[in-house]
């Protein structure tokens, strides 16, 4: 049969359509992005390729604040997501029993609603004159949070807190699910043995369970951190000009000002910075396995 001759080619035939698609619509755009970042000119005068490295230095100088802020917010959000999400994942994996699937479903369900609708809901919830804030104001909580720097002048909207909280919220399942998968895979007999060995569930957790779940934590952190750095919707809807992230700048440069070269340079720097952060993180955790 003719199949015989095609045999060794089979994987490539299977791969071809998808990989070609990705090559054309993912890899090539990276190249055009790079080229665009080295252009100069405006949309009206036309863009010309000019090895314009000054785009990079210009935007780094002008938007360093937004860059740093984005990483800060994303890192904070990731940590918060871990604090909130890991115990939940642990709970579902170890205590879920028959209800595991249902619980997982519950975790994921809110995120079927459109991202924007959820974020707008937070705008309503945290509204200055809304119920939550009024309650907090009446209870005197806002004074406390003002002193702690969590709220500003008695409001939560248009503060970094709101933005970080919303980012945490929106990416929580990305932390919960990988952690759950990792935790779920752990052989229960190992846990039992560890508890016998180390004298108590807490130590067993620290010595055995948690380290075994690290791949999940790693994946979850990345899946939370990376999109969070580039996010701009939360900052736009719930923040203020002082909470603008690099995503806001890129969006504005690209879509409102048509300043493609600078926007492209910003995008590239963002990608490079994320890659760097991920590599450092991977080194720290000592693992390269993902998802």
């Amino acid at each position: 049969m003719a199949f015989g001759r095609l045999r060794p080619l089979l994987p490539y035939i299977l791969l071809a359509p998808g990989l070609v698609f990705l090559l054309v619509f993912f890899v090539v755009p990276m190249y055009t992005l790079l080229r665009q970042s080295l252009n100069e000119g405006t949309l009206e005068t036309g863009f010309h390729f000019a090895w314009n490295w000054s785009n990079y230095s210009d935007v780094l100088k002008r938007y360093d604040e937004q860059f740093i802020r984005s990483f800060r917010y994303a890192a904070t959000a990731t940590v918060l997501a871990f604090i909130l999400g890991y115990p939940l994942a642990y709970f579902i994996a170890f205590r879920g029993g028959r209800f595991k699937s249902y619980l997982l479903f519950l975790v994921v369900l809110p995120f079927f609603t459109t991202y924007l609708i959820r974020t707008l809901a937070w705008q309503t919830i945290l509204s200055d004159q809304g119920d939550v804030l009024t309650l907090m104001r009446d209870l005197g909580l806002l004074d406390i949070t003002d002193k702690l720097g969590i709220s500003q002048n008695g409001r939560l909207l248009a503060t970094p807190t709101a933005v970080v909280m919303a980012i945490t919220y929106n990416f929580l399942p990305f932390m919960v699910l990988p952690c759950y998968v990792s935790l779920e895979r752990i052989d229960r007999r190992l846990v039992e043995a560890a508890q016998d060995l180390y004298g108590g569930p807490v130590r067993a957790f620290m010595r055995v369970v948690f380290p075994l779940s690290l791949p999940g934590v790693f994946a979850g952190s990345l899946l939370t951190f990376i999109p969070a750095v580039g996010d701009f919707i939360n900052a736009e809807i719930l923040g203020s000009p002082r909470t603008f992230m690099i995503g806001n700048v890129i969006q504005s440069r690209f879509l409102e000002l048509n300043d493609y070269p600078e926007a492209a340079a910003l995008s590239f720097i963002l990608m490079a910075a994320i890659l760097l952060a991920v590599l450092v993180y991977a080194r720290l955790l000592g693992t390269e396995e993902l998802a």
Binding site: L10, P11, Y12, L14, L15, G18, L19, F21, L22, F25, F26, P29, T32, L33, R35, Q36, P87, L88, Y90, F91, R95, L106, V107, P110, F112, T113, T114, L116, I117, R118, L120, A121, W122, I125, S127, L172, E192, Q195, D196, G200, P201, V202, L222, L223, I226, P227, G230, D231, F232, I237, Q251, F254, Y260, A264, S267, L270, M271, I274, L290, A291
Partner: protein
């Protein structure tokens, strides 16, 4: 099993650690429930305000209950058009991305070939690139090629970021597939086609379906990449974005809740079907 472990602890280390364990166990449950509650808080708000009997333009103060918006969710033709567009884009993207992604997943799991590493990398990269960079870079490609952004470009964009998700999902399923089943079926006299149809496909089908559903959900919800590549076309998330600038009509809450209901319905259906099959 927890009870067994508990028994060991109690007998060996006394009541202190068992009490701690008890508190710990319930603290965890309470904590987990609180987090779940937190996850659902905005959803409650969204659903609640879909029933709000709004007088004027704005929907953020409860004014009364009405089913009006649920009766006429598509009062705004722009909303209807955007929803239709989103569904069309999602349907087409799902088919293409699932097909392409499944093929890749198969190749990666079943065969050893030259270039596995780079392939894995290529699959991984879109997942680890922020959406804004994905959207912006794709736009630069279309600019260079002088392609007008619109329906086609939205579909291309959606397929582009979805393929990786399909690969990861299907691959996970394929990895847990016991290939010896195929050999067994063949040994028992089935030919390749029968084996594929009766043995392989039914067992891996959930993985492919999961991938497809994931793509559909991602496509329906996508905002950032679409924002950069939609031109004049308005998908549902883009519509929400625009409407929120002035005053989001309660119908948006209705549609959001509907999507939720569909998801619940789908899962329930899948669960029931599985029960019947088992």
């Amino acid at each position: 099993m927890a009870a067994q472990v508990g028994a060991h602890s109690r007998s060996r280390r006394g009541t202190v650690s068992s009490v701690l364990g008890f508190i710990g166990k319930h603290a965890l449950t309470v904590y987990a429930m609180l987090v779940l509650l937190y996850l659902f808080l905005p959803i409650f708000v969204v659903v609640m305000f879909s029933f709000n009997d709004v007088e004027g333009r704005f929907n953020f103060v409860w004014q009364g209950f009405t089913l009006d918006h649920w009766m006429h969710p598509f009062k705004d033709p722009a909303l209807k058009d955007s929803m239709l567009l989103s569904l069309r884009v999602a349907a087409i993207s799902t088919v293409i991305a699932t097909a392409l992604g499944t093929l890749i997943a198969f190749a990666l799991v079943r065969y050893k070939f030259f270039g596995v590493g780079p392939t894995n990398l290529l699959i991984l990269l879109p997942l680890t690139t922020p959406e804004i960079v994905l959207g912006a870079s794709l736009l630069t490609l279309f600019l260079v090629l002088n392609v007008t952004t619109g329906f086609m470009t939205i579909v291309i964009a959606h397929v582009m970021f979805s393929i990786s998700f399909v690969v990861v999902t299907v691959r996970a399923r394929l990895r847990s597939f016991d290939w010896t089943l195929e050999e067994a079926a063949m040994d028992l006299g089935a030919n390749e086609f029968q084996t594929f149809r009766k043995v392989t496909l039914p067992l891996i089908w959930p993985g492919i379906l999961a991938g497809a559903l994931l793509v559909f959900a991602l496509s329906l919800d996508d905002f950032v990449v679409t924002l950069f590549n939609s031109g004049q076309e308005v998908t549902f998330p883009l519509y929400v974005w625009g409407a929120a600038r002035t005053a989001a009509p309660p119908q948006i809450n209705v549609i959001g809740s509907m999507i939720l209901l569909v998801a619940v319905f789908g899962i329930v259906l899948a669960y029931l079907l599985q029960r019947r099959r088992a």
